[in-house]
């Protein structure tokens, strides 16, 4: 039991139909000096006092009793304590003469069966809630499967954790609710046959069950995680990247002139420098400016990639698609477009990303790898392009607008004589 606001928290050990067990629990509490005072959500609150022997009775009626009704119980020797869910709780000192609350077994049976049916409906509603939560999660998983990414470790760790928690939480709670539902049904059947409760059941020791609040808290946390994950995945768009781009049309400068209207819609780009990107959705729009004052716009799209063994998750790695030159109406040379060194998508390491922009005959690349030291990035790009002697990397630009980090590098081809 835990303390809250000076009162001691507890909860009934038995299901509501086993009234006598919960009555005995309250009596044992009183013997330890804990007297039922109030409720907090689904918990009972006890205040400390002098231990004494008390009698407790629980009656099956929901709602607040009026004073007249309480007086009937008082006339029978019972003091009203509180109501808790569908039950009224009464107490009396052990030595006081009292009349039992229920003197007609048939009437008590009617009340109990009505109450059990209500509990069953509640259990069904709870099961339906967890079943829906689980179904929503399964749907989300199916969507992932269709995109070809299934529980990717690198970026999908959160997905993995969500999967485990949701599966355990939903199934666990459904099992619990189903167990309750079956027990209620069994008790109803036994009531009809007049064999509930048996004398042995009435003598059974009462055991306090712990942890139900914790389980409920975990269940809520699981559902919040699930909902957050679903919202997050619905707000993103993914593009499929294939290794065979022959089916994709070539996008020329004339066809793609202005991407400013595409920030929230699907885009198709293919065969930029021999590599292609399929449909995606622009997530970010970064504007970079070179030292010479040239503006270059980079569009970031979220994507999923299957190629080259890359593992991508939902939030995934950003693919920057360089399009500033199109916006300005400038054109890359045909040779530059065919040159695989200047791909729109350039991912060779999961922590290193580049994107390329064509600016006239010059090529601008944006690269980032978490750290933005120019020398480290230049060295990596040179290694990736595999052409240390032919490329001269220079220049650095500043980010004017946008969200990604990185370095803007200008690549100039070096003539055979070493001059640019």
């Amino acid at each position: 039991m835990k303390r809250k606001d000076g009162l001691v928290k507890g909860h009934f050990p038995a299901i509501s139909a086993e009234l006598w067990k919960n009555e005995r629990y309250l009596e044992k509490q009183a013997e330890q000096g804990l007297f039922l005072k109030d409720r907090w959500e689904d918990n009972l609150l006890f205040e400390r006092g002098t231990p004494r022997k008390m009698k407790y009775r629980i009656d099956i009626h929901s709602g607040l009793l009026d004073e007249e009704t309480k007086a009937w119980y008082a006339e029978a020797g019972w003091d009203w304590v509180m109501w808790f869910n569908d039950y009224q709780i009464f107490s009396a000192p052990a030595e006081r003469e009292t009349t039992e609350l229920h003197t007609d077994p048939a009437e008590l049976e009617v009340l109990m069966r009505k109450s059990l049916k209500k509990e069953q409906r509640r259990a069904m509603r709870n099961m339906a809630f967890y079943a829906v939560a689980f179904a929503v999660f399964l749907l989300s998983l199916i969507v992932y499967l269709q995109r070809g990414v299934f529980l990717a470790l690198a970026d999908g760790t959160v997905v993995n954790i969500c999967t485990t928690i949701v599966v355990v939480g939903c199934i666990g709670n459904c099992r619990g609710m189903w167990g309750h539902w079956k027990k209620y049904q069994e008790i109803q059947n036994r009531l009809r046959e007049g064999i509930f409760p048996t004398a042995e059941e009435k003598e059974e020791a009462v055991e306090q069950k712990e942890g139900s609040f914790l389980r409920k808290a975990v269940s809520v946390a699981v559902f919040v995680l699930l909902a957050g994950e679903m919202v997050s995945s619905c707000s993103e768009q993914h593009i499929s990247m294939e290794t065979d781009f022959s089916a994709y049309p070539v996008v020329t400068a004339a066809e793609v002139t202005d991407l400013t209207g595409y920030t929230q819609s699907d885009l198709s780009f293919c065969n930029v420098g021999g590599r292609g990107l399929a449909k995606g959705k622009v997530k970010m729009r970064d504007i970079w400016e070179t030292e010479a004052g040239e503006e270059c716009v980079f569009y970031s799209v979220y994507y999923e990639a299957f190629s080259a063994g890359f593992a991508k998750g939902i939030a995934g790695d950003l693919c920057d698609f360089a399009n500033g030159y199109y916006k300005k109406g400038l054109a890359a040379t045909a040779e530059q477009r065919q040159d695989s060194r200047f791909d729109g998508l350039f991912l060779t390491e999961t922590d290193f990303h580049t994107a390329t922009a064509y600016l006239g005959e010059r090529v601008l690349q944006i690269s980032w790898n978490g750290a933005t030291e120019k020398e480290a990035v230049l060295a990596k790009m040179a290694a990736i392009l595999g052409n240390e002697t032919e490329q001269n990397w220079s220049g650095i630009g500043e980010k004017k607008e946008g969200g990604s980090r990185g370095i803007l590098i200008e690549v100039t081809e070096v003539e055979e004589n070493g001059d640019t």
Partner: protein
């Protein structure tokens, strides 16, 4: 119909309020039937809902109940059933 219902309907042939009903049931049954408060409350709630009795007066402190025509009819039917049971039992030599 349970025994508690029967005796409450019987007692409510004269309008009465809850506390006195408890005692009236004891009187009508010659002390045989003792009405607990839980039974009384449960039966009254159910019979009001089923239309067998009705609240005829509520002064804020206590409610007075009376039997309805439907309640009288139910009572008569139950009486006839019980009478038939007794007759059959006597015929069988009980």
């Amino acid at each position: 119909m349970t025994e508690a219902m029967y005796y409450i309907l019987l007692a409510l042939l004269e309008p009465n309020h809850g506390y006195q009903l408890m005692q009236a049931v004891g009187t009508v049954s010659h002390g045989r039937v003792k009405m607990g408060p839980g039974t009384l409350y449960g039966v009254l709630t159910r019979m009001v809902k089923d239309g067998l009795i009705v609240v005829v007066n509520n002064d804020g402190r206590r409610k007075t109940y009376a039997i309805t025509d439907a309640g009288k009819e139910a009572l008569k039917q139950e009486f006839a059933r019980l009478e038939a049971m007794i007759r059959d039992s006597i015929e069988m030599g009980l």
